[in-house]
Amino acid sequence: MTRSGEFGEDGGGDDILAAEYVVGALSVEERREVAARIERDPVFARLIERWEVNLSPIQDGFAPVEPPASVKRALDERLFAATAAAAAASSSRGGFWNSLAVWRSLAAAAVLAVAVLAARPYLVETPQPQASRLVASLAPRESDVHYFVVYDARTADIGLSHVTGERQGGRDFELWVIENGQSPASLGIIPAGSTVHLAVDQALREKIGQGAVFAISLEPQGGSPTGQPTGPVVAAGDLRDI
C-alpha cells in the first residue's frame, strides 16, 4: 500500500486498512486496490472477514424496503436467458450428479472402495492442472448429514458449511479424502459450528484434486483410533472444479 508510513504511525497497518475498507470510507481507487488484494492475499482476506463480522451488528440499521417486482423479472432475464446455453454445455460434461446417484445406490459397507471406481468413468475426460478451488456437496448417506465443502488449494484450507444433520451424543464427525483406489486419509475431526475450517497438511494436499472423494464418518470422540474409518459413512461426495 502506498501510505504504509501513515498506517504505521497509527499503529494499525494492514488491519486498520481492512477496517477502513469494511467501514466504507476509502476512495474509489483505494477500494479497487484493496479489493484486488483480498483476491490474492488470503491472510489479508481474513482480516477483512474479521472486521465484517465485528461490524455486522450495525447492519440492523438498514431498514428493509420491498423492491418492485420488475427487478426480479429483469434479474431473471439477465441471469437465465444466458444460462440455458450454459446448462446444456455443462450437462454434456456429465459427471457430478450421475456419480452422486451412483454413490447413493451403493451399499454402505463397500462404499469407500467401490464408489471411487464407479465414479471414475463419469469424471472429466482430460486431466487438468490443479484447480485452485474445488467444491463438493457431501450428501447424506443413510443419515441426514449434509455438508457443503470448498477446498482452496492456494491456502490449503477446507471450509465446511453445515447444512443439516447433528452428531450423536459423544461422537465426532471425521473428514476423509479418498484418491482413486487408495485407502482413506484423515483430514481431521470436523469442529462443531455452521461454518468451520480445516487446515490441510502438506502431505495430504496432493491427494486433494478433482475427482477425489470426500467422506464423513461417525467416529468416537477424538477421532478414529485406528487411522481408518471405523464408523458408518454418513455423507460423501466428489470434488469438482468451479
Binding site: 497509527d10 499503529g11 494499525g12 486498520i16 477496517a19 477502513e20 467501514v23 466504507g24 470510507a25 476509502l26 476512495s27 474509489v28 477500494r31 479489493a35 472477514e49 474479521r50 465484517e52 463480522v53 465485528n54 461490524l55 455486522s56 451488528p57 450495525i58 447492519q59 440492523d60 440499521g61 438498514f62 431498514a63 428493509p64 424496503v65 420491498e66 423492491p67 418492485p68 420488475s70 427487478v71 426480479k72 429483469a74 434479474l75 439477465r78 441471469l79 437465465f80 444460462t83 446448462a87 478451488r133 467444491v135 456437496s137 457443503f148 465443502v149 470448498v150 482452496d152 471450509g159 465446511l160 458449511s161 453445515h162 447444512v163 443439516t164 455452521s194 461454518t195 475450517h197 468451479i242
Partner: protein, 179 residues
C-alpha cells in the same frame, strides 16, 4: 426463516438450484434493497444495483462456505460493498451531502439487546466508548457509505484529521472487541 434456512438456500444456490435462488431472493431482497437504497439514495440506481448484487450472489454463492459471517450478514456485506463501490465511482452532488447527514441511530433498544447474543451486543457497547461524533462517523460511513471527504465536510474538519479520527476510532473498537 432461520439463519439455518438461509444457509441452506445459499448452499443450494451455489449448486445452481434456481428454485432455491428464487426463494432466497424472496426472503432477503427487501433487506438488501434497503441497503442499496440507503447508500445510493436513488431508487432507479438502487434497483439496478440490487440486480447486480443478486447476479453476484448467484455466481459467488460457493464463497459463503468459507465465510465466518452469518448468512444474512454475508448477503448484506455483498450488497453494501457493491453499493459503496457504485456510489464511490460516481460524482456526489452537494445536495446529497445534506441527506447523508441524516443518520438514523441503529443502536438497538433494550428488548433487542436482551434477545441478541452477547457478541452482537459487544460492538454497541464498544461504540459507546467512543466520543459521540466519532461513533457517528463510524456509523455514517458504514450505513450511508460516506467517504472520508464527505465525512470531513460533514464534521467540518480537514480530510487528514478525519482519517486520523476514524482510524483511531477503529483501533479503539478493535481493542475493545478483543478485550
Amino acid at each position: 426463516m432461520t439463519p439455518h434456512d438461509i444457509t441452506k438456500l445459499i448452499v443450494r444456490t451455489s449448486m445452481k438450484d434456481r428454485g432455491a435462488f428464487d426463494l432466497l431472493y424472496r426472503q432477503t431482497s427487501a433487506k438488501l434493497f434497503g441497503v442499496c437504497l440507503r447508500i445510493l439514495r436513488d431508487r432507479a440506481e438502487a434497483e439496478e444495483a440490487l440486480q447486480e448484487v443478486y447476479v453476484k450472489i448467484w455466481t459467488k454463492a460457493d464463497r459463503f462456505a468459507v465465510s465466518d459471517l452469518s448468512p444474512i450478514s454475508w448477503l448484506v456485506a455483498i450488497a453494501r460493498n457493491h453499493a459503496i463501490d457504485r456510489i464511490r465511482s460516481r460524482k456526489v452532488a452537494a445536495a446529497d451531502l445534506d441527506e447523508a447527514a441524516d443518520v438514523v441511530d441503529p443502536r438497538p433498544g433494550p428488548e433487542a439487546l436482551a434477545l441478541a447474543g452477547s457478541e452482537r451486543v459487544r460492538i454497541f457497547q464498544c461504540m459507546e466508548t467512543l466520543e459521540k461524533d466519532r461513533a457517528d462517523a463510524v456509523r455514517g460511513a458504514y450505513l450511508t457509505g460516506e467517504s472520508y471527504a464527505e465525512l470531513a465536510e460533514r464534521f467540518g474538519v480537514p480530510l487528514n484529521t478525519m482519517r486520523t479520527w476514524l482510524r483511531r476510532s477503529l483501533l479503539k473498537l478493535r481493542d475493545c472487541l478483543e478485550a
